[in-house]
């Protein structure tokens, strides 16, 4: 089934560098199929955050092609790229993932706020809140008990699950997790990845999981090393 859909991410001969500076990122070819789960190993300095900002449509490549869901992001204006990200990409960060002044459920439904497509998939505010609660519960949190407290009082592990729920709400085609488990201990780490897999599968989203921790690679069907892919980093190191 996944063969019939266009790849979620397709990049060819992509190069990126800040104006007037040498390339930071030089990737020959990378394809991520629909629903695929990819582990991308990348220590800091390997161009990881640059790649994330490119996939998010916040940065635009210097050369080469970057298609997300068949859409060449470079052809979209900044506003349209923001909209595209809202509709099709969910993010989970390392930590401090939550907006401190919003409640737990509101933090999750924030994923719909800027996305007409996700709202259309879920329905009105009540339906969004229902789905948010379902997701948080599925990720192993007691919604009713926790929603009444400020989110800043949650443990890091709990915060990460809320963040995952926000990334997943409205079933975006691509979920990008940037070191989401680095603040968790080993058992919690594996448990979190398992829960994430289950919900990603349910939503039918592709998952790009970036981490510097190679131990997690074993959990993924496919894993890549960013330093190995990035020709710019290789030449710089040499």
């Amino acid at each position: 089934m996944s063969e019939t859909k266009p790849p979620v991410v397709a990049l060819e001969a992509l190069r990126f560098g800040w104006p007037g500076q040498p390339d930071l990122l030089d990737l020959d070819d990378l394809r991520i199929a629909a629903g695929e789960r990819l582990f991308l190993e990348g220590p800091s300095g390997s161009g990881k955050s640059t790649l994330l900002n490119l996939l998010a449509g916040i940065l635009v490549p210097r050369a080469g092609r970057l298609r997300v869901l068949g859409q060449d992001l470079a052809n979209l204006r900044a506003g349209a790229r923001d909209r595209f990200r809202a509709d099709h990409v969910g993010f989970i960060f390392q930590q401090f993932n939550l907006v401190p002044y919003l409640g737990l459920v509101e933090n999750v439904t924030l994923g719909c706020r800027f996305s007409p497509a996700r709202r259309a998939r879920l329905g009105d505010a009540a339906a969004q809140a229902r789905e948010a609660r379902r997701l948080v519960a599925a990720l192993g949190l007691d919604v009713d008990a926790l929603d009444r407290r400020p989110v800043t009082g949650l443990s890091v592990g709990q915060q990460q699950r809320v963040a995952a729920a926000r990334a997943l709400i409205g079933a975006p085609e691509l979920v990008i997790a940037d070191e989401p488990t680095s603040a968790l201990d080993a058992t919690a780490r594996a448990a979190f990845v398992e829960l994430l897999f289950a919900e990603v599968e349910r939503a039918g989203s592709a998952l790009v999981f970036v981490s510097h921790d190679p131990a997690l690679a074993a959990l993924f069907p496919r894993s890549l090393s960013l330093p190995a892919l990035n020709r710019a980093a290789a030449t710089e190191a040499a």
Binding site: N53, I58, D82, F91, F93, F114
Partner: protein
Amino acid sequence: MLRLALKSLLNRRGTVLLTVFTIAISTALLVGVERLRGETRSSFASTLSGTDLIVGARAGTVQLLLYTVFRLGEPTANVSWETYRRIADSPMVAWTVPLSLGDSHRGYRVLGTSAEYFEHYRYGSRRQLEFSAGAPFDGVYEAVLGAEVARALSHRVGDELVVAHGIGRVSFAEHDDKPFRVVGILAATGTPVDRTVHVPLAGIEAIHLDWQSGTRMPGRAISAEEALQQDLTPRSITAFLVGMENRVQTFTLQRQVNEYRAEALSAILPGVALQQLWSLTGVAENALRIVAACVVVVGLLGMLTALLTTLNERRREMAILRSVGARPRTILGLMVLEATALAGAGLLLGLGLLYAILAALRELAATRFGLFLGMGPPSAPELLALAGILAGALLVGLVPALLAYRRSLSDGLTVRI
């Protein structure tokens, strides 16, 4: 988006509340100064009302006004009684009130006048003088005190007071042989009337019978009772107030007085003269406004500080908003909205504060200073001040908003602090 902004503010309610208070206080101050200025100006302009002309010996407009209405300064020359009578008897004139200055009582000016004073003198919106105790003078050695004189010197009806020659606070030449008895005390007016001791013209004449050019004539003492037997019609007065039969003729009489041949006289329109005098106080007035405006600037700077200090800790929040698809413009809007909400709340609270203060001080201001504080909606200059504060707040709010905007562009999704 508004909910987002409000929730964000609510999350930081400590600093936000302080900021709102700062803005509220500076708003209350600026608008309060503006209101007070408006009220004092109108109350000043109506220090004397209902009088059509003030006539005195030839002098500058402001000078004549100063000693007749404000009882400040020295009259340079007098108007003869004959001239006064001639003008007073003109068919155009409805009433006159003679004024005679030159003596004092413990630093307060003594004004010799007639009983018409209490009938025709008007202040504010044509308010008549009212007695808080006693009645107008009737006998030669009777006095009516202004509210402040009575309060400051603790005089009551029935007390006796001695008039000093000249106008110094400390005087060595006192008319102690002819004391005056207090028969009436006026209610506060907020005008110089409050600081005046009123006595009959005949009383002024009586105490000066045995005086010549500022000193008592030795061996010619005349007792209070003997004085009563003499003709106490004054030879001259300082000035007089005129009420016209028909106000249209005011300018005709003014011209006649100014061209009067037998004596050099000036006739002035009190309203015009008061406006001229007020314009002299413009500097102080503006100084007050500048100070109030400075307080507003300090308040806005406080707001800027409060917004800027939180900016760094909010970088992650901005990155999260960006990750869920918020445009940099949205983040700019969010910050501006927050600043606007802050300023708006401060403005409303400030107005509330001001009206509360006005309501609390109203009674005191009216009885103590005769100043009527209006509780009406903000006037045009006050609205202008409010709009100025709001515009300033928006301008100040734009600084952190633009910083957040630029940062969210460069940070993207990855913030490293």
